[in-house]
Symmetry: C2
Amino acid sequence: MRRAANKESSKTDLEELQARLSAYMDQKGLRSTAQRRLVTEIFFGTEGHLSIEELLEVVRQQDPKVGYATVYRTLKLLTDSGLAQERHFGDGVSRYEVAHLDEHHDHLICLRCGRIEEFENDDVEEMQDRIAKAHGFVLERHRHELYGVCRACHDAEA
Amino acid sequence: MRRAANKESSKTDLEELQARLSAYMDQKGLRSTAQRRLVTEIFFGTEGHLSIEELLEVVRQQDPKVGYATVYRTLKLLTDSGLAQERHFGDGVSRYEVAHLDEHHDHLICLRCGRIEEFENDDVEEMQDRIAKAHGFVLERHRHELYGVCRACHDAEA
DNA sequence: ATAATTGCAAAGGATTTGCACGAGT
DNA sequence: ACTCGTGCAAATCCTTTGCAATTAT
Protein backbone atom coordinates (compact mmCIF):
# COMPACT_ATOMS: atom_id res chain seq x y z
CA MET A 1 0.00 0.00 0.00
CA ARG A 2 2.49 2.57 0.91
CA ARG A 3 5.90 2.32 -0.63
CA ALA A 4 5.62 4.30 -3.74
CA ALA A 5 6.36 7.92 -3.67
CA ASN A 6 10.06 7.74 -4.33
CA LYS A 7 11.47 6.36 -7.48
CA GLU A 8 14.99 7.22 -8.50
CA SER A 9 15.30 9.55 -5.57
CA SER A 10 15.44 6.56 -3.25
CA LYS A 11 19.03 5.81 -3.72
CA THR A 12 20.02 9.38 -3.34
CA ASP A 13 18.05 9.61 -0.14
CA LEU A 14 19.74 6.57 1.30
CA GLU A 15 23.12 8.01 0.50
CA GLU A 16 22.13 11.29 1.98
CA LEU A 17 20.94 9.60 5.15
CA GLN A 18 24.12 7.64 5.50
CA ALA A 19 26.24 10.67 4.83
CA ARG A 20 24.45 12.57 7.55
CA LEU A 21 24.78 9.74 9.98
CA SER A 22 28.42 9.42 9.20
CA ALA A 23 28.98 13.11 9.76
CA TYR A 24 27.09 12.97 13.03
CA MET A 25 29.05 10.00 14.27
CA ASP A 26 32.38 11.51 13.31
CA GLN A 27 31.53 14.67 15.08
CA LYS A 28 30.59 12.77 18.21
CA GLY A 29 33.47 10.35 18.01
CA LEU A 30 31.17 7.36 17.65
CA ARG A 31 32.22 4.16 16.02
CA SER A 32 30.93 2.34 13.03
CA THR A 33 30.24 -1.24 14.01
CA ALA A 34 28.83 -4.13 12.08
CA GLN A 35 25.66 -4.03 14.20
CA ARG A 36 25.08 -0.36 13.69
CA ARG A 37 25.63 -0.64 10.00
CA LEU A 38 23.21 -3.53 9.80
CA VAL A 39 20.52 -1.87 11.87
CA THR A 40 20.71 1.47 10.13
CA GLU A 41 20.88 -0.07 6.71
CA ILE A 42 17.73 -2.08 7.32
CA PHE A 43 16.01 0.80 9.01
CA PHE A 44 16.80 3.28 6.27
CA GLY A 45 15.62 0.80 3.69
CA THR A 46 12.25 0.21 5.28
CA GLU A 47 9.16 2.26 4.79
CA GLY A 48 6.59 2.70 7.44
CA HIS A 49 6.68 2.65 11.20
CA LEU A 50 8.83 0.03 12.78
CA SER A 51 8.74 -1.06 16.35
CA ILE A 52 12.01 -2.14 17.92
CA GLU A 53 10.78 -5.67 17.89
CA GLU A 54 9.90 -5.66 14.22
CA LEU A 55 13.23 -4.18 13.35
CA LEU A 56 15.11 -6.63 15.51
CA GLU A 57 13.36 -9.50 13.82
CA VAL A 58 14.63 -8.41 10.43
CA VAL A 59 18.06 -7.65 11.79
CA ARG A 60 18.33 -11.12 13.25
CA GLN A 61 17.69 -12.69 9.89
CA GLN A 62 21.09 -11.34 8.98
CA ASP A 63 22.77 -11.68 12.31
CA PRO A 64 20.91 -13.65 14.96
CA LYS A 65 23.26 -12.58 17.68
CA VAL A 66 22.25 -8.94 17.77
CA GLY A 67 20.70 -8.04 21.09
CA TYR A 68 17.68 -5.82 21.42
CA ALA A 69 19.55 -3.35 23.57
CA THR A 70 21.70 -2.64 20.56
CA VAL A 71 18.65 -1.89 18.48
CA TYR A 72 17.29 0.40 21.16
CA ARG A 73 20.61 2.15 21.41
CA THR A 74 20.99 2.48 17.70
CA LEU A 75 17.52 3.92 17.29
CA LYS A 76 18.25 6.36 20.04
CA LEU A 77 21.31 7.41 18.14
CA LEU A 78 19.30 7.84 14.98
CA THR A 79 16.67 9.82 16.81
CA ASP A 80 19.23 12.06 18.43
CA SER A 81 20.87 12.70 15.12
CA GLY A 82 17.53 13.61 13.60
CA LEU A 83 17.49 10.73 11.15
CA ALA A 84 14.65 8.86 12.79
CA GLN A 85 11.47 10.06 14.38
CA GLU A 86 9.79 8.36 17.26
CA ARG A 87 6.05 8.03 17.23
CA HIS A 88 3.40 6.70 19.51
CA PHE A 89 0.10 5.49 18.26
CA GLY A 90 -1.50 4.40 21.47
CA ASP A 91 -0.55 0.76 21.73
CA GLY A 92 2.24 0.69 24.24
CA VAL A 93 5.13 0.58 21.77
CA SER A 94 7.39 3.19 20.30
CA ARG A 95 7.62 3.15 16.58
CA TYR A 96 10.25 4.76 14.44
CA GLU A 97 10.21 6.08 10.98
CA VAL A 98 12.94 7.35 8.77
CA ALA A 99 13.00 11.10 8.91
CA HIS A 100 12.04 12.18 5.49
CA LEU A 101 14.57 14.66 4.38
CA ASP A 102 12.06 17.05 3.00
CA GLU A 103 8.58 15.86 2.25
CA HIS A 104 5.79 16.06 4.74
CA HIS A 105 3.45 13.26 5.27
CA ASP A 106 0.80 12.43 7.78
CA HIS A 107 -1.05 9.41 9.07
CA LEU A 108 -4.31 7.56 8.84
CA ILE A 109 -4.75 5.10 11.67
CA CYS A 110 -7.27 2.30 11.88
CA LEU A 111 -8.91 2.20 15.28
CA ARG A 112 -9.65 -1.50 14.95
CA CYS A 113 -6.52 -3.15 13.63
CA GLY A 114 -3.96 -0.42 14.12
CA ARG A 115 -2.98 -0.33 10.49
CA ILE A 116 -1.25 2.90 9.60
CA GLU A 117 -1.30 4.47 6.20
CA GLU A 118 0.33 7.63 5.09
CA PHE A 119 -1.05 10.48 3.16
CA GLU A 120 0.23 13.67 1.81
CA ASN A 121 -1.80 16.59 0.69
CA ASP A 122 -0.39 19.82 -0.55
CA ASP A 123 -3.65 21.66 -0.20
CA VAL A 124 -3.80 20.86 3.47
CA GLU A 125 -0.21 21.93 3.90
CA GLU A 126 -0.94 25.17 2.22
CA MET A 127 -3.94 25.76 4.39
CA GLN A 128 -1.91 25.10 7.48
CA ASP A 129 0.44 27.84 6.49
CA ARG A 130 -2.46 30.15 5.98
CA ILE A 131 -4.01 29.30 9.32
CA ALA A 132 -0.74 29.76 11.15
CA LYS A 133 -0.18 33.08 9.49
CA ALA A 134 -3.64 34.26 10.37
CA HIS A 135 -2.83 33.55 14.01
CA GLY A 136 0.53 35.24 13.81
CA PHE A 137 2.46 31.98 14.16
CA VAL A 138 5.57 30.98 12.31
CA LEU A 139 4.97 27.34 11.59
CA GLU A 140 7.70 24.84 12.35
CA ARG A 141 6.00 21.52 12.16
CA HIS A 142 2.68 19.85 12.53
CA ARG A 143 0.94 16.68 13.38
CA HIS A 144 -2.04 15.56 11.45
CA GLU A 145 -3.61 12.22 12.19
CA LEU A 146 -6.88 10.81 10.99
CA TYR A 147 -8.45 8.03 12.99
CA GLY A 148 -11.09 5.77 11.58
CA VAL A 149 -11.89 2.26 10.44
CA CYS A 150 -10.07 0.85 7.46
CA ARG A 151 -11.83 -0.93 4.69
CA ALA A 152 -10.84 -4.42 5.78
CA CYS A 153 -12.11 -3.90 9.30
CA HIS A 154 -15.19 -2.20 8.07
CA ASP A 155 -15.98 -5.12 5.78
CA ALA A 156 -15.27 -7.56 8.55
CA GLU A 157 -17.79 -5.88 10.76
CA ALA A 158 -20.53 -6.02 8.18
CA MET B 1 -0.48 30.56 29.59
CA ARG B 2 -3.53 30.34 27.58
CA ARG B 3 -6.83 29.89 28.82
CA ALA B 4 -9.83 29.79 27.47
CA ALA B 5 -11.83 30.61 24.64
CA ASN B 6 -14.88 29.39 26.31
CA LYS B 7 -17.06 31.93 27.86
CA GLU B 8 -20.25 30.94 29.56
CA SER B 9 -20.17 27.72 27.64
CA SER B 10 -17.92 26.20 30.30
CA LYS B 11 -20.63 25.08 32.55
CA THR B 12 -22.68 23.75 29.74
CA ASP B 13 -19.74 21.74 28.53
CA LEU B 14 -19.27 20.10 31.87
CA GLU B 15 -22.90 19.18 32.00
CA GLU B 16 -22.74 17.88 28.51
CA LEU B 17 -19.72 15.77 29.33
CA GLN B 18 -21.37 14.32 32.36
CA ALA B 19 -24.56 13.65 30.50
CA ARG B 20 -22.66 11.76 27.84
CA LEU B 21 -20.76 9.78 30.38
CA SER B 22 -23.94 8.96 32.16
CA ALA B 23 -25.57 7.79 28.98
CA TYR B 24 -22.57 5.69 28.11
CA MET B 25 -22.48 4.08 31.51
CA ASP B 26 -26.17 3.35 31.50
CA GLN B 27 -25.92 1.76 28.15
CA LYS B 28 -23.05 -0.41 29.29
CA GLY B 29 -24.56 -1.21 32.67
CA LEU B 30 -21.68 0.44 34.52
CA ARG B 31 -22.04 1.85 37.99
CA SER B 32 -21.60 5.30 39.33
CA THR B 33 -19.24 5.13 42.27
CA ALA B 34 -17.83 7.81 44.50
CA GLN B 35 -14.36 7.23 43.01
CA ARG B 36 -15.51 7.50 39.45
CA ARG B 37 -17.44 10.62 40.17
CA LEU B 38 -14.47 12.17 41.88
CA VAL B 39 -12.00 11.26 39.16
CA THR B 40 -14.20 12.34 36.30
CA GLU B 41 -15.23 15.56 37.99
CA ILE B 42 -11.63 16.58 38.53
CA PHE B 43 -10.60 15.44 35.10
CA PHE B 44 -13.40 17.27 33.33
CA GLY B 45 -12.60 20.38 35.28
CA THR B 46 -8.94 20.45 34.34
CA GLU B 47 -7.39 21.95 31.26
CA GLY B 48 -4.34 20.56 29.62
CA HIS B 49 -2.74 17.18 29.54
CA LEU B 50 -2.81 15.18 32.71
CA SER B 51 -0.79 12.14 33.49
CA ILE B 52 -2.34 9.48 35.66
CA GLU B 53 -0.01 10.43 38.43
CA GLU B 54 -0.89 14.10 38.29
CA LEU B 55 -4.55 13.30 38.30
CA LEU B 56 -4.21 10.86 41.13
CA GLU B 57 -2.42 13.45 43.20
CA VAL B 58 -5.34 15.82 42.93
CA VAL B 59 -7.84 13.05 43.48
CA ARG B 60 -6.11 12.03 46.67
CA GLN B 61 -6.46 15.49 48.08
CA GLN B 62 -10.13 14.70 48.23
CA ASP B 63 -9.92 11.03 48.98
CA PRO B 64 -6.49 9.67 49.90
CA LYS B 65 -7.63 6.11 49.65
CA VAL B 66 -8.16 6.02 45.92
CA GLY B 67 -5.78 3.59 44.26
CA TYR B 68 -4.03 4.30 41.03
CA ALA B 69 -5.55 1.29 39.34
CA THR B 70 -8.88 3.03 39.73
CA VAL B 71 -7.60 6.10 37.99
CA TYR B 72 -6.20 4.00 35.18
CA ARG B 73 -9.47 2.17 34.86
CA THR B 74 -11.53 5.30 34.96
CA LEU B 75 -9.44 6.98 32.32
CA LYS B 76 -9.75 3.91 30.18
CA LEU B 77 -13.49 4.19 30.55
CA LEU B 78 -13.38 7.83 29.58
CA THR B 79 -11.21 7.09 26.61
CA ASP B 80 -13.44 4.28 25.46
CA SER B 81 -16.47 6.48 25.74
CA GLY B 82 -14.78 9.14 23.70
CA LEU B 83 -14.69 11.71 26.49
CA ALA B 84 -10.96 11.66 26.96
CA GLN B 85 -8.12 11.42 24.52
CA GLU B 86 -4.84 9.79 25.26
CA ARG B 87 -1.64 11.46 24.16
CA HIS B 88 2.02 10.61 24.16
CA PHE B 89 4.76 13.15 24.11
CA GLY B 90 7.74 10.87 24.16
CA ASP B 91 8.53 10.74 27.85
CA GLY B 92 7.22 7.35 28.82
CA VAL B 93 3.90 8.53 30.24
CA SER B 94 0.41 8.65 28.84
CA ARG B 95 -1.40 11.91 29.22
CA TYR B 96 -5.07 12.53 28.89
CA GLU B 97 -7.03 15.48 27.74
CA VAL B 98 -10.73 16.16 27.89
CA ALA B 99 -12.23 15.49 24.50
CA HIS B 100 -13.59 18.62 23.01
CA LEU B 101 -17.22 18.22 22.28
CA ASP B 102 -16.89 20.41 19.32
CA GLU B 103 -15.04 18.13 16.98
CA HIS B 104 -14.28 20.94 14.70
CA HIS B 105 -11.49 22.58 16.43
CA ASP B 106 -7.82 21.98 16.47
CA HIS B 107 -4.73 23.45 18.03
CA LEU B 108 -1.92 25.81 17.32
CA ILE B 109 0.84 25.41 19.85
CA CYS B 110 3.67 27.81 20.49
CA LEU B 111 6.92 25.94 20.89
CA ARG B 112 8.41 28.70 23.01
CA CYS B 113 5.77 29.67 25.53
CA GLY B 114 3.31 26.82 25.25
CA ARG B 115 0.43 29.06 24.39
CA ILE B 116 -2.35 27.15 22.74
CA GLU B 117 -4.77 28.68 20.34
CA GLU B 118 -7.64 27.00 18.68
CA PHE B 119 -8.60 27.10 15.08
CA GLU B 120 -11.30 25.74 12.95
CA ASN B 121 -11.32 25.34 9.24
CA ASP B 122 -14.09 23.74 7.28
CA ASP B 123 -12.01 23.32 4.18
CA VAL B 124 -9.49 21.24 6.05
CA GLU B 125 -12.27 19.16 7.56
CA GLU B 126 -13.69 18.54 4.18
CA MET B 127 -10.35 17.52 2.84
CA GLN B 128 -9.85 15.11 5.69
CA ASP B 129 -13.04 13.38 4.71
CA ARG B 130 -11.87 13.19 1.17
CA ILE B 131 -8.48 11.81 2.14
CA ALA B 132 -10.01 9.19 4.41
CA LYS B 133 -12.41 8.15 1.74
CA ALA B 134 -9.65 7.84 -0.81
CA HIS B 135 -7.93 5.40 1.53
CA GLY B 136 -11.09 3.46 2.21
CA PHE B 137 -11.34 4.65 5.80
CA VAL B 138 -14.45 5.66 7.65
CA LEU B 139 -13.30 8.64 9.62
CA GLU B 140 -14.12 8.81 13.29
CA ARG B 141 -11.93 11.57 14.58
CA HIS B 142 -8.71 13.36 13.96
CA ARG B 143 -5.92 15.25 15.55
CA HIS B 144 -4.47 18.24 13.89
CA GLU B 145 -1.84 20.26 15.64
CA LEU B 146 0.31 23.03 14.28
CA TYR B 147 3.51 23.82 16.11
CA GLY B 148 5.32 27.05 15.68
CA VAL B 149 6.31 30.30 17.29
CA CYS B 150 3.63 32.77 18.24
CA ARG B 151 3.86 36.43 17.46
CA ALA B 152 4.79 37.49 20.96
CA CYS B 153 7.66 35.03 21.17
CA HIS B 154 8.75 35.82 17.70
CA ASP B 155 8.87 39.52 18.48
CA ALA B 156 10.70 38.83 21.71
CA GLU B 157 13.39 36.99 19.82
CA ALA B 158 13.96 39.79 17.38
C1' DA C 1 46.48 0.81 23.93
C1' DT C 2 42.32 3.18 24.75
C1' DA C 3 37.72 4.03 24.76
C1' DA C 4 33.44 2.86 22.66
C1' DT C 5 30.16 -0.90 21.84
C1' DT C 6 27.96 -5.18 22.52
C1' DG C 7 25.03 -8.77 24.67
C1' DC C 8 23.24 -10.42 28.48
C1' DA C 9 20.55 -10.15 32.34
C1' DA C 10 18.95 -7.37 35.90
C1' DA C 11 16.70 -3.12 36.95
C1' DG C 12 13.25 0.49 36.12
C1' DG C 13 8.84 2.50 35.05
C1' DA C 14 4.40 2.55 33.51
C1' DT C 15 0.33 -0.01 32.99
C1' DT C 16 -2.51 -4.14 33.69
C1' DT C 17 -4.46 -7.86 36.20
C1' DG C 18 -6.01 -11.45 39.84
C1' DC C 19 -8.34 -11.64 43.80
C1' DA C 20 -10.86 -10.91 48.14
C1' DC C 21 -13.52 -7.39 49.95
C1' DG C 22 -16.84 -3.62 49.54
C1' DA C 23 -20.51 -1.09 47.28
C1' DG C 24 -24.25 0.03 43.68
C1' DT C 25 -28.36 -1.57 41.52
C1' DA D 1 -28.78 -11.09 46.23
C1' DC D 2 -26.17 -10.29 42.38
C1' DT D 3 -22.66 -7.98 39.95
C1' DC D 4 -19.62 -4.67 39.29
C1' DG D 5 -15.90 -1.77 41.20
C1' DT D 6 -12.06 -1.03 44.33
C1' DG D 7 -7.51 -1.42 46.36
C1' DC D 8 -3.69 -3.88 46.95
C1' DA D 9 0.13 -6.33 45.31
C1' DA D 10 1.92 -9.15 41.97
C1' DA D 11 2.55 -9.62 37.20
C1' DT D 12 3.55 -7.73 32.51
C1' DC D 13 5.35 -5.13 29.09
C1' DC D 14 8.51 -1.94 27.13
C1' DT D 15 12.74 0.32 27.80
C1' DT D 16 17.06 1.40 30.13
C1' DT D 17 21.27 0.26 32.44
C1' DG D 18 25.46 -2.12 34.72
C1' DC D 19 29.03 -4.86 33.59
C1' DA D 20 32.50 -7.96 31.64
C1' DA D 21 33.95 -9.17 27.25
C1' DT D 22 34.73 -7.58 22.54
C1' DT D 23 35.97 -4.51 18.92
C1' DA D 24 37.01 -0.03 16.37
C1' DT D 25 40.10 3.54 16.21
